[in-house]
Symmetry: C3
Subunit: 272 residues, 3 copies
Amino acid sequence: MSRPIITLLTDFGLRDAYVGTMKGVILARAPEVELVDLTHDVAPQSVAEARFLLTASAPYFPAGTIHVAVVDPGVGSDRDILAVRSRDQLFLAPDNGLLSDQIRAASETRRVIQSRFFAPRVSRTFHGRDIFAPLAAALASGVGLEELGPPAHSPQLVSWPDVKRSAGALEGEILYVDRFGNLITNICEEDCGRAKSVSIEGRCLGPPRESYVEAAPDALLAIVGSFGYLEVAMRGGHAARELRIGVGAKVVVSLGEPGLFMKPTAAGPNRP
Amino acid sequence: MSRPIITLLTDFGLRDAYVGTMKGVILARAPEVELVDLTHDVAPQSVAEARFLLTASAPYFPAGTIHVAVVDPGVGSDRDILAVRSRDQLFLAPDNGLLSDQIRAASETRRVIQSRFFAPRVSRTFHGRDIFAPLAAALASGVGLEELGPPAHSPQLVSWPDVKRSAGALEGEILYVDRFGNLITNICEEDCGRAKSVSIEGRCLGPPRESYVEAAPDALLAIVGSFGYLEVAMRGGHAARELRIGVGAKVVVSLGEPGLFMKPTAAGPNRP
Amino acid sequence: MSRPIITLLTDFGLRDAYVGTMKGVILARAPEVELVDLTHDVAPQSVAEARFLLTASAPYFPAGTIHVAVVDPGVGSDRDILAVRSRDQLFLAPDNGLLSDQIRAASETRRVIQSRFFAPRVSRTFHGRDIFAPLAAALASGVGLEELGPPAHSPQLVSWPDVKRSAGALEGEILYVDRFGNLITNICEEDCGRAKSVSIEGRCLGPPRESYVEAAPDALLAIVGSFGYLEVAMRGGHAARELRIGVGAKVVVSLGEPGLFMKPTAAGPNRP
């Protein structure tokens, strides 16, 4: 049997040994797990960023994976901790909206109250080490979700902003900016089939491209990225710095008439 | 039997593949170990920072863990390398004070002289790869500490600064600043039981809080943090930047009369 | 039998969960592998930096290791992907020169065309996740290189700049600058045996030293570093910032007459 996987996603950074300490706690209790870092460089206390990254990466892990996400501005308050089973994976996080996407597809959402699974001594400020790490180790060791606490009846749920739709256009917005300066929007691939042209901050980028190299060097371009959403990128550059924009900026997609302005290559299979 | 754990703590950063190379050396010699990064972002050559982080995180690892700490301004000089058994864990580091806390509690402290456990060729500048990694693999493979060299008779030992105590107050200082800008002091939890008020740089923070959310947004606060020491934090912000201070800055705790000004909640168990 | 090792080297950074996602894909298909990060902080799209780091670190891994290097400015174009067997290790990377050093020593170099080993759906922008990760998992599971595609007949090959040699001097150049500001040159250890003096940017550093501590604090020095090449360093400081130079800067080594100016210690074995 393969080893249970525990992924960690936090805003703890890698400078202070907070993450290494969590791993010590987990391995002391569940020595056979496989630990994977999703990221620890979420902007401090940015629940939205954590949620975006967890939702984007969790589906690539096998069934049974335990995802632990600790971005927790309310640490030490009376906010709840949630344990969720969603699409055959398990998720642990504070009840602050981080798990909204998983909860909507969940078969089981529990409020963790059984402190016997916590560390013997729980600090005021580091529940990642004292609560989340021991809980993850317990789940990896076979403890059932139902042992952790009762069903959660009204977990905090937040939504991504809607795409505004009119006859000839879509208006979306930037959800995330990655390390390369790519601006990831909320406009999904299916909505790009009729895209005639994309514009952002008054700059027209033409239709979505099939690859970065279709654009001229140093040119801005639109492309359906690896998250399955439209992105604005800059070939060989950093689109966010070039445009001086970030999360929340608006993007407009002008639509061609169905079947008329359809860009032939965009209809092909999504293969290189 | 579970796999032996080797932790790595260095100032090598993650940009240059130095750490990855150490892992290659270890896995080539001891394929079954579990590698855990404590941190590699210690400020270059800061032995004090390395020592703080190792002392804070090692206790969370299981017995038998091998901790390798390489912050080594004297690499290539005749400084010794120490191998220490302390509280059922093993430690390898240069003899530069980094292991002071472990040595004080050690059952065995050895000076490594047996170069047969080193790489066949040792570079002038990268003993992490050529000496520490092979030594860690040897220990993980069952080599005994006594095979590495003779007892170390006068290892370098450094101390944390003392807290100054007077009738009505304690004066401590900042030992470490973490990624969130939290200022960690040398005043331990036990000393905070009678704390009436904490002040730093002429700003009064009131008594230590039970959680960040007790403070107003963007307010500075004092709290006993996860290291078990008093910390100065800023709710939703970065205390070190706000106060423009760092390691070595002074913190004063005014004490109430015993039993009189005792803050009720501070006496409760350290639970959320 | 020990677990197959897969190393990852990319320019993806650690902020965006791209690397974590690749690990999920690998572990879903080959749960028993050992994953090691070489680095993910290669300067965006710097194939030269990736090549330098891979060539420097791969030899420290055991036979059978699978190295995956994804620095891929041409992602989505028709650039090939190469699978190489070189010195008993396997390498996967885009055909952009990154694997030049490995290909020159290769026993087998293949162009990957068998998309049945890819993810069912391949994005336009993230072949690390959709092609390289599944390919690495396939190799770790025992798929042979010959199953991936035909021999590559003209892979892209780039060379490191030559050292210019005259009677009394060598002129080399900086290939890489590490996190400490050390400037790594293309002048190898063997060429330093007769080195009388090293100069860079008009500053004379004297002969190569045996250790950093031979230089005065804050002084620049030359030393044969851990890559086996001459480096320019600054004791307790950052040579690249001090000199305000980087990759491509010239370094001159003045040679003594053979046997006459030979620095005695430099002839000794390379041991501390």
